[in-house]
Structure formats: C-alpha cells, structure tokens
C-alpha cells in the first residue's frame, strides 16, 4: 500500500473541503477500497472517512424514503420500512457479501464498488482498460464466464457487482450528490455509465463530489417485490445473474412492472424493454418469457458466458411467476 493520510470528516462541508485535493478519496466501510489499495490498484494519498456523515433513514413527505450515504448495508436491510414496503431492497442486500461485510459497507461505497473481473484484479499479470486505460482487455478473448452479456463494448465487458444497486435501479431511486458547486440529484439508472471507449469512467460523479443520500420514491406495489440471485455457491458469492422485480397485477393483467438485472451487465441494468413488453399483458409465464426475450435480444455473449442468456430468461420468468402466483 502506498502511504496516505487519514482524516475523519465531521460533516459534508468538511468532507468536501478535504476531498477537493487531487489524490484524495472518500472512505466508507473500506471493504472495497482497502482491498484495492492493498492490491495497488487504487493509490490515493489521502483518505477522507465519511462514515460520520448522515446515516439516517427517514420517510420523506411524499411517502418515499431517504437513506443517508453512510447508512450501513445491515441497517438498511433491517429497517422496518425497507422490509415491509421495499422488500426487494432488503432481499438484494442480504443476498450480497457476508454479514460482517454488510455491517461495515455503506450505501455510498456499495454504489461505487468496483468490478470483480479477475483481469482487473490481476495488476501484475493482465491487461485491463479499466485499470490502465488504453492497454487492452484480456477478458474479451479470455476466460469470460462471469462477464457481461449486456452493455459491454470492445474495450470492456466487466460486470457491475452490486446487488443493492440492482434493486435501487428497479425502484427508480435517485442519488443525491454534493460538490463544490452545490447539490444535484441523478436517477440511479443514469448514475453508472456504459464502458464504451472509456471503461475507466464508471459513473457521472465529478472529481471530489460526494454521495450524500439515496432516495426511494413512493411505489405502493413495491411492497410486492422480490430479488433472486443465482451464484456458484449457496451464499457469499457474487451473482452470475440476478433479477429485481416488482409487479402490479389487476384481474390477471400486468398493470405495471419494474424489472432490473444484475451480474449480466456492465452497470445495474434496468430492463425497460421487458417492462414495456409486459405492461397490459396477461400475467402468465408465456408473457413473462416473451418480455424476457424482448430484453435479451440485445445480449451479445462472449466465448464462455452465453449460458447467461437462458439463465436470465429463466430467472425473470421464475421471479415474476412467484410474485404473481402464475403457474410455470
């Protein structure tokens, strides 16, 4: 690890003051950043600990929920409003990492966690455009069973690893930011960027900008939502594919639906095409399958990951069937 200074920010203004210096990085739980520093993939010269900033989880005037960026993953998962009104978020959180890591990890850090692509991690042995822009990508023609089938470019096919962010994408969450020029809010679905020619850029966050909170709008039918994750072992593993879903059915017809995918795309993937294909359709496995196919038409598999297309289709059908009680 390279040498660095450590400062605990007392409030957002204090964090921004320290965070403005080039080479400074915010520190949440440290579960991703400390690991990447030890691997010499991240080399900040100043860490600004932001876990003392707002970790409050409060209901908003319009019936939504505002979650402070410093809230720990466990605190969000156990919050009564999250468990009862946004179960997809609680489910996604407890499907990720381990209890110890969830006790440390913050909401802000979870959104900004970096990919688990093994070539990204192999600083000594592999080329990676995300780690060293312009050097090439060893995953595209390498061992790419875990890589993205959606949203990849010729420069990068690394998946975004967060489970939480997939639920937030489905829930139309917004990310609250604060920088030197003031505050702004960005829809979560526009917060992460596609790799394109610049996979080293992963979000719209500006240098020194701070995530202060994540806001969930009211979505009554989210009380009826679920998260399903498929992985190589029963627990404590990243997703091969996952689906976050909320669905509103009336008289056997899908009135509204929210669907997002994880483990298969370069960013938390809102499945808008599937949603469009499903609205107004009968709540049957046949329409769920057709909707899944509408989304997965855009899938571009690499050598080892074509299985994710069928897998994702099956998870979408299974989750929607589970939520609507439709027989598969």
């Amino acid at each position: 690890m390279n040498p660095f200074t450590y400062t605990k920010a007392t409030d957002a203004a204090d964090a921004l003051r320290h965070g403005a210096a080039g080479g400074a990085r915010y520190l949440g739980g440290g579960t991703n950043l400390v690991d990447l520093m030890r691997e010499t993939i991240e080399k900040p010269d100043a860490l600004i600990d932001v876990t003392g900033l707002s970790a409050d989880i409060v209901e908003t005037g319009d019936g939504g929920l505002l979650i402070g960026a410093a809230a720990r993953n466990t605190a969000v998962a156990e919050h009564e409003t999250v468990r009862t009104r946004y179960p997809v978020l609680a489910r996604a959180l407890v499907a990720g990492a381990s209890p110890q890591i969830r006790n440390m990890a913050t909401v802000g850090g979870n959104l900004l966690q970096r990919t688990r692509c093994p070539y990204f991690y192999d600083a000594d042995g592999a080329r990676c455009n995300k780690r060293e822009p312009g050097t090439g990508c060893d995953a595209i023609d390498g061992f790419n069973r875990g890589h993205a089938i959606l949203g990849a470019s010729g420069a990068c096919a690394a998946t975004h690893p967060s489970d939480m962010a997939v639920a937030l994408a489905a829930l139309d969450a917004t990310v609250h930011l604060r920088g030197a020029d003031g505050t702004r809010s960005v829809p979560l679905t526009e917060f992460h960027t596609l790799p394109g020619d610049h996979p080293e850029t992963e979000t719209v966050l500006r240098p020194g900008e701070l995530i202060t909170a994540v806001e969930l709008p009211p979505l009554p039918f989210a009380a009826h939502s679920a998260y399903r994750k498929v992985r190589d072992r029963a627990s404590y593993a990243f997703a091969l594919a996952s689906v976050a879903a909320a669905v509103d059915v009336e008289d056997g017809t899908v009135r509204d639906v929210r669907l997002a995918l994880g483990g298969v795309a370069t960013k938390p993937w809102r499945a808008s095409r599937a949603e469009e294909a499903l609205r107004g359709q009968p709540a049957t496995p046949e329409s769920f399958r057709a909707a899944a196919r509408a989304e997965l038409e855009a899938a571009r598999p690499l050598r080892d990951n074509a299985f994710k297309i069928d897998l994702t289709e099956r998870i979408i059908v299974a989750v929607l069937s589970q939520l609507t009680g439709a027989d598969q």
Partner: protein, 170 residues
Amino acid sequence: MSVIVNGSPRELPDDPRVSLLDFLRERLGLPGTKKGCDQGACGACTVLLDGERVLSCLTLAVQADGRDVTTIEGLGTPGDQHPLQKAFIAHDGFQCGYCTPGQICSAVGLAAEAGRGVPSHVTGDLTSEDIALTREEIRERMSGNLCRCGAHNGIVDAITETYASAEATA
C-alpha cells in the same frame, strides 16, 4: 487516537496503513484473531466492533478510533470460557482450530443480529422481526466464515445449543 481493546485503552498506530488485524496481532500481541486471506473472503479475522461483527483485515486500525474492539481473548479465557467456547469443544466444532476464533466472534454477532430482527437471505417472512434460529438460518448467517477442515456440522450444533430456542431446533 485510541481504541478500547478487550476493555483496555490502547494507542492507535501513527501509520494509517496498518490494518486492525495487524494492529491486534503484531502490535498488541493478541494473536487469537487469525489472518486467512487478508481480502475479506474467509472470516478468520472476524472481531466485534462496538458489538458488531466485522472483518479486521479490511478495517484500518484508525477506523476504530474511539470505538470498542472485542477479540476472542476478550470473550473467554482457558479458565473462564465463553459458553460458545465450551459448546465448540463439546460438539467438535473444529479440527485445526484456525478458523475458530473468527467463528466464535461471528456467532456472538449473529446472536445479537438475529435477536433484533435482522433478516437473512433465507428468512421467509421479512415483515416479522421474530427470527427462529433454525439450522438453515445459522448456516446462512455463518456463511461469511469458511472452515477448511469442514467442521461446519459441529459449528452449527454448538451455535444451536448456545443460542437457538427449543422451538427453532425442532
């Protein structure tokens, strides 16, 4: 900057690169906490920070400033064992013992989490705060602690005996 370790105040290192794990083992002479992977993947380094289980390998010692750390040395001693330590011995909850301090600290954290209603991946009803510590719940909640010797059945037995109520184990 200082931290309370097993009840005693300790000065934190000047170099912020020192992990809480190395601080405990190398500087305080508390080798009970183990280093398995040093990257968050095994749970051998689990300690309690303000009563919550965390990974000391991914925690910088300075992040513990002003807080309370409990290691296996603070939970029990050979002459005055923690109930979980007795149960691990009674149920063969280990072979080599390398993962055991982390398993025991983790199980103490598990009991507190389940007691206040934190759900897990296998919890059926998210609207209920009453968590029955079934074997399935204990296995999932202990999945952050690997055991290379495969002592998992004994580990689950020991935790069940110590923390699960009679109806949960039925």
